[in-house]
Amino acid sequence: MRRIGVFVCHCGSNIAATVDVEKVVEAAKTFPGVVYAADNKYTCSEPGQEAIKKAIAEHNLNRVVICSCSPRMHEATFRKTIADAGLNPYLLEIANIREQVSWVHTDKEKATEKAIDLARIAAAKAAKDEELFTSTIPIEKRALVIGGGIAGMQAALDIADAGLQVTLVEKESSIGGKMVMLDKTFPTLDCSACISTPKMVTLSQHPNIELMTYSEVTHVGGYIGNFEVTIKQKAKFVNHDICTGCGLCETKCPAKVTSEFDQGLGKRPAIHKLFAQAVPNKPVIDKNSCLKLTTGKCGICSKICPVGCIDYEDKDKEVTKKFGAIVLATGYELIDWTKLYGEYGGGRYDNIITGLQFERMVNASGPTDGKIVRPSDGKTPKSVLFIKCVGSRDVNKGKSYCSRACCMYTAKHAHQVLEKIPGAKAYVSYMDVRTPGKGYDEFYMRTLEDGAVYVRGRISKIYPEGEKLISLGEDTLSNSNVTLETDLVVLETAMVPNPSAEKTAAMIGVGRDKDGWLQEAHPKLRPVETNTGGVFLAGTCQGPKDIPDTVAQASAAAAKVIGLLYKDELETNPMISKVDPQKCAGCGFCIEVCPYGAIELVDFPDRYQGKKIMRKVAQVNGGLCQGCGACTVSCKPGAIDLLGFTNLQILEEVDALCR
């Protein structure tokens, strides 16, 4: 038996000035199921709430309708009020007679009529309200960070420092990411390795961090608080438990291949550490170039290893772990310019390099020991041209977006050329110079004062002539053609998402934008969350950014993870979809519609013609469902319904509106 109480609020004169509150009360008394109706000057005030509680007790009310301001304003307040009075908090409906009646209408008679209609609609819905209960799901107090660049390291350290367990998975054999490849960082010119390697060491020694290098995430299941993640540890062929990292094997290995870390400018042996200060500082064998593993003949490293840690029989291993939260820090790669820019030679000219190759070259521990040289002949270039926006802001060939960090590192590169090579010329071909950031514009100005020549315009063609490279372009400021003759050309190429992010994002159910960057939940207000609960973004996987922004975002993601994992249990929203397995035909249309992957088909024991059978029916995962109701419309037999907004309730509302 429904016993509905209706409470109409004056809101001072906010409602009462335009709506005849007494009339609404009188009308409400005639609605089906309504046993009590009253008005109040301020329903949300302490006495107003007390009056509701008192009426619930005195009149034995079991459904409550409040005609007041928007439910977006006080729904939570009144849910708590009726819960205090012993009712289930979801047995409440609110008729919005302030924002949607008294404030937008002037005719008192018509406004009152509309207020009565809204009250009737709310009462009709309330009559079909059912008790709903929040359930709790336990939270695994361990976070997974995918990617060991500066973003992943910062996030892992922040979470671990808060006292929570973290597993950091990195696909390379060392953490450090792109930042450790760099020489100096703008605008302070402090050495990149000097500020990132101590972080790497701290991380590897942190008691709360489990470091899994040379590993990849291969499967992600579960949901917020309860992810089940399978991690593949690639075969290292070196037993890191006994390896001392002496490096003897690296010096004797006969197989030399192009070094990925040095961006193709140097060589590395098949058994190698990623770089000198790698963490963990122990080598792995690259199975594609090792002579023993490819041809079966060699085995030198095994013979000379003083502790006998080489194991050619090593296999990939898979482990499955549980996590409460995931931070994606998969980072970026540089766009492959060789396929896009035929006018720059498409990779045929040795003396055209990328900005990251320049970084390796100018790095004291790089392949040239910090000397800027021409890759073709090893000579010191006397003039260098830097071309910005190669792939960025180029809708026709590359990407429409700005890669954000290039203007600043180009200024740094030009500065380094002028500083390291006495008498050298540095030219920069640019479209715009964008230097928003602390101390950034000052740095750019300093580079100009150093003598860097900025030419506004794009380079349309580069070709070699003798030992030189001739670059043809336009100076749009003087409206003239320019021909630059330089020894070296550096292309400052666009950032693109790390290709491995696509697979990882798909596994977790995180969306990607038109360029493949991982999609944040809201571009302004939820920049580190994703639309999948418990999954957060850090660094350039979300979009191009420089190191300060990356670190800030990583710490923000860590704060979100800490906030989540510090709870013991997670309360779920009870207003979610629910399947009636008896009605469900198991067609699976709802699965395709659900944006959260919250619905799956499960076995359901049933009877058919007197026989016991098993059939598939849809089931909603309460941890994943967000309660949008899109699935309810897709269901042909009407087996799936949204609690709190059931089909019956909405139909009752429509009926009540029409009388």
């Binding site: 924002e99 509309k114 109701g629 899109a630 419309v633 897709s634 949204l642 089909n647 429509v654």
Partner: protein
Amino acid sequence: MSLEEQKQVPENWEPTILAFCCNWCTYAGADLAGLNRMKYPENVRILRVPCSSRVNPQFILRAFQKGVDGVLVAGCHPGDCHYVSGNYFTRRRFLLMQRFLEYNGIDPRRFQARWISGAEAGKFRDTMLQLCEEIKELGPNRKLREVK
């Protein structure tokens, strides 16, 4: 009811318009219109739904059967859905439904969809004004109406 009677519009007739508004954008936009004291006709009754994709075509049919003169489904702008992709479903369903209603003799202007964000109070008011005017022009809805 004779054909003549059907065409007659009763004196002082006011249309009843039902608006399904998603909780995150359009309902918030309607609240903001109130906060800014914008004025629009009283004919509109708003039903709050979590997402525009919650609106089942069944609800719309029922509304027309019960004598509603116009129905609006309104949600977040495409691409801005609080639930990622809900309004894309709404958009497709709306187009199908509008054609279905037209096939059944209901003027497509009686069933409209709009994307109104939580900040677009002005757009909300303008939509209400326009909708009321259009439906007043069309007169009472007598198609699909249940025989009493």
